[in-house]
């Protein structure tokens, strides 16, 4: 083959690959790129055995969610009788074929409540790297092809920054900084780590209280990371850790806050809505009846939705007025995701429920029993749902 034709073909193939990457819809962290839990594209409104496009076996347990970067799905897992083997897995999004698996050893405490696993926090990505944290407070950065970039052992560095029930806070990456909350009854810290090498840009003392929540992010007018704890919310600059404002009326230590349309919805005394435009965390409304259990709230089809053990509640996001409550089959550990007027719930027994949400009601329109415990929040990409149990990862599509 003439050399110039080879070059043309390579360019064409590269262009195709680039186009494919560019078109692929990423879901780079817990509750998606913008932490809203919303899929921009419609998801299957019916879930059945026929809509499972692939299923892969997993080598370990986990409550972490899959994330999607380009044409690949990344997932963490943990195994071993001590839960001390850490797995980072990468699968082809289209076929489910394993691209690579990397294993590491935990450097911190692996003990947890039996329901939890070491692989509880969801990894995140800046599009070039994957950052995975574990209950043992190990922080691992690999590139998209699985090459180790750096490794931190936050429990190895701070032996008392642990929780005997397990840690679950999922990291976020903002402004080239990985934000990691390592908060417990004993030592309690938040860290801003340089994504390039894992070095500590900043470290903050945090309330000494067990905390399982994940940070959320405000993007306007400047990026701020919102650190939640039993004390409330602390808004910090991602690169410096400087505190810009605080909400000090307390917050839940399990479900995480939601930012949508310049309003912060905090699981605090039910749900408390706080203005992000006032600059000082001014409260807009509070409704105790909207108290979520483990799942974080979501704003879907113009309604704020909270999920408790056996019901979902919908509220007007402007004033908190409860529009309706609807019974569903729980209990839930996974946070919901949504697309358009459909809400996707996976209960702990492995029952997937598609709920059509209107201003009048929430109605289960489809359900499917996966027959395995599901505790991890699903991910969505290009019209497909990715969800995991301890044994399997599934892709659900049309």
């Amino acid at each position: 083959m003439p050399a110039n034709r080879s070059i043309i073909l390579i360019c064409f193939a590269s262009a195709l690959a680039f186009t494919s990457m560019a078109d692929a819809e990423d879901w780079r962290q817990f509750r998606g790129d913008d932490l809203s839990g919303l899929s921009p594209k419609p998801l299957p409104t019916e879930i059945s055995g026929d809509t499972i496009q692939w299923e892969v076996d997993l080598p370990g347990r986990g409550l972490s969610a899959p994330i999607v970067v380009g044409d690949r799905v990344y997932l963490s897992a943990s195994s071993g009788f001590d839960q001390d083997r850490l797995h980072l897995l990468c699968f082809d999004k289209q076929t489910g074929e394993e691209v690579f698996e990397r294993q590491f050893w935990a450097t911190g405490r692996t003990v947890s409540h039996p329901k939890m696993a070491n692989a509880t926090p969801t990894p995140c990505s800046d599009g070039k790297r994957i950052f995975a944290t574990f209950s043992s407070n190990d922080v691992i950065c690999i590139d998209l092809d699985g090459n180790l970039q750096w490794f931190r052992g936050m429990n190895y560095d701070y032996p008392n920054a642990t929780n005997s029930l397990g840690m679950s806070s999922s990291p976020v990456v903002v402004d080239d900084t990985l934000i990691v909350q390592v908060e417990s009854d004993a030592d309690s810290f938040a860290f801003g780590l340089d994504v390039a090498n894992g070095k500590t840009r900043w470290q903050k003392e945090r309330p000494r209280k067990a905390n399982w929540t994940s940070p959320t992010v405000v993007t306007k007018p400047e990026p701020l990371v919102l650190l939640q704890s039993a004390s409330g919310i602390e808004a910090v600059k991602p690169k410096s850790g400087d505190t810009i404002w605080k909400y000090e009326s307390g917050a839940s230590t399990i479900p995480s806050s939601l930012v949508q349309d310049d309003i912060l919805y905090i699981p605090s005394n039910g749900i408390t809505a706080v203005s992000l435009t006032s600059g000082n965390g001014e409260e807009i409304w509070n409704v105790r009846r909207l108290s979520p259990s483990t799942p974080s709230p979501i704003l879907a089809n113009g309604m704020l939705i909270t999920v408790s053990n056996v019901k979902i509640a919908a509220a007007n996001p402007e004033d908190g007025e409860v529009l309706w409550e609807s019974r569903v089959s729980g209990p839930f550990s996974a946070s919901p995701i949504a697309a358009g007027k459909y809400l996707y719930l996976f209960n702990e027994k492995g029952l997937a429920q598609v709920v059509e949400i209107t201003k009048e009601e929430g109605k289960v329109v489809s359900d499917y029993d996966f027959g395995e415990i599901i505790l991890g929040t699903p991910a969505a990409s290009d019209g497909a749902i990715f969800v995991r149990s301890d044994e399997h990862l599934w892709k659900i599509g049309k």
Binding site: G80, G146, Q149, F151, G153, D157, N197, K199
Partner: protein, 378 residues
């Protein structure tokens, strides 16, 4: 012709010189990369250098694998992970054959890094499953907890299939001789119990069951974590001190719980907002590095031979087997153990535990018995 041969010989000599130089350079590069990776340390020390060294290391052929394994011996837990990852990448993508003989030799030497040995065993299982399975027969006492777990499980699985009788009993006793993981030991113990064989779990796990205890001292509002009451200042077992509810003296507490839990709430009193001090001794047959593995839902401090080895201020986040693992260096002979255990004032039913379970074991979790048992009444 002769001149031509001489020329060929000279060229060959020259080329082999280049080859030797290049090989030694490669070997030097490999050693330099390994050195950089084993130098990574707390708080991201060496991370930047390690990134380049890792990228260089993974380009090696598979014949570099034994060198990587060798570097794991003595490496800290962070370095172990860099090296493990490089090992995996080279196994997956490197050129050349796997040096199976050298890998097997590394596995056989129990002085090598236990985690690395386990990793090598996993690789052998993947490549030669039948051979690896046969190897397990000789690994019941292996110093790697993971390998031993598999060897024990193989014997348990075999025992399950046997008909009741002496052979079955012997098989379970064989499994017990290597077992250290809680679930396996309990399964074996339950099976043996059905055959009228009682397993002394306290001894098997190396649990500390005999203590002196004094208290309660005041811990209202959880203020006493850093208050040093008299037992932190002196160990005078005949002394009396002012406690939370009046004078307190040292007394004896022992446990007959098979899993060695010392229940203060039941044996002494369900104190709230209280501090108790416990004392025991461990007669070590030699100077040795051990682990104190313990479980408690209460806050605590642990001193060994007067040195504070760890402190933990966490209340009621559950009590789980081997919840804490504290490395301790023991001297030969008597070692003094002082334990401060604090209860808060939570009123929920699930927050009433006031107990401790403590054992002495090796790095792999195998219980280590003292030379002589401690008698708290002496």
């Amino acid at each position: 012709m002769q001149a031509l041969t001489r020329l060929n010989f000279s060229i060959a000599l020259f080329l082999s010189g280049i080859l030797a130089f290049s090989t030694s350079l490669t070997f030097a590069d490999l050693q330099e990369d390994l050195k950089i990776l084993t130098d990574v340390d707390h708080r991201a020390a060496g991370n930047i250098e390690a990134q380049a060294a890792y990228a260089s290391l993974v380009k090696n052929d598979r014949d570099a694998l034994p060198q990587i394994l060798k570097a794991m011996n003595g490496a800290n837990p962070l370095a172990e992970n860099y090296l493990r990852s490089a090992f995996e990448v080279i196994v997956a993508d490197g050129e050349g054959d796997l040096p199976m003989g050298q890998l097997a030799a590394y596995l056989q030497d129990q002085e090598n890094n236990q985690k690395a040995r386990s990793m090598v065993f996993e690789l052998l299982k993947h490549k030669t499953p039948a051979k690896a399975d046969k190897m397990l027969d000789g690994m019941l006492k292996d110093s790697s907890a993971e390998i031993r777990y598999q060897a024990v499980q193989k014997v348990i699985d075999r025992a399950k299939k046997l008909d009741a009788g002496e052979q079955k009993k012997e098989a379970y006793l064989t499994a017990l001789s290597g077992a250290s993981e809680e679930g396996q030991v309990k399964a074996i113990s339950d099976a043996l119990k059905e055959m009228d064989v009682e397993v002394d779990l306290q001894k098997h796990f190396g649990l500390l069951t005999d203590w002196k205890i004094i208290g309660p001292f005041d811990n209202k509002e959880m203020k006493a974590f850093d208050i040093a009451y008299p037992p932190e200042e002196e160990l005078d077992f005949g002394a009396s001190y002012e406690g939370m509810e009046g004078p307190v003296q040292w007394q004896t507490i022992t446990t007959d719980d098979p899993m060695g839990a010392v229940d203060i709430a039941k044996s002494i009193g369900p104190y709230k907002g209280a501090v108790m001090y416990m004392y025991s001794e461990y007669d070590s047959p030699s100077e040795q590095d051990v682990y104190f593995r313990m479980a408690t839902a209460n806050a605590w401090k642990l001193w060994v031979n007067g040195e504070l080895v760890f402190a933990r201020e966490e209340y009621h986040r559950g009590m789980r087997w081997d919840q804490y693992r504290v490395p301790v260096s023991l001297k030969e002979g008597k070692n003094e153990i002082l334990f401060k255990i604090l209860q808060n004032e939570q009123t929920q039913p699930w927050a009433q535990d006031y107990k401790i379970q403590m054992r002495v074991c090796d790095q792999s979790g195998q219980g280590l018995l003292p030379r002589t048992s401690y008698d708290p009444n002496k």
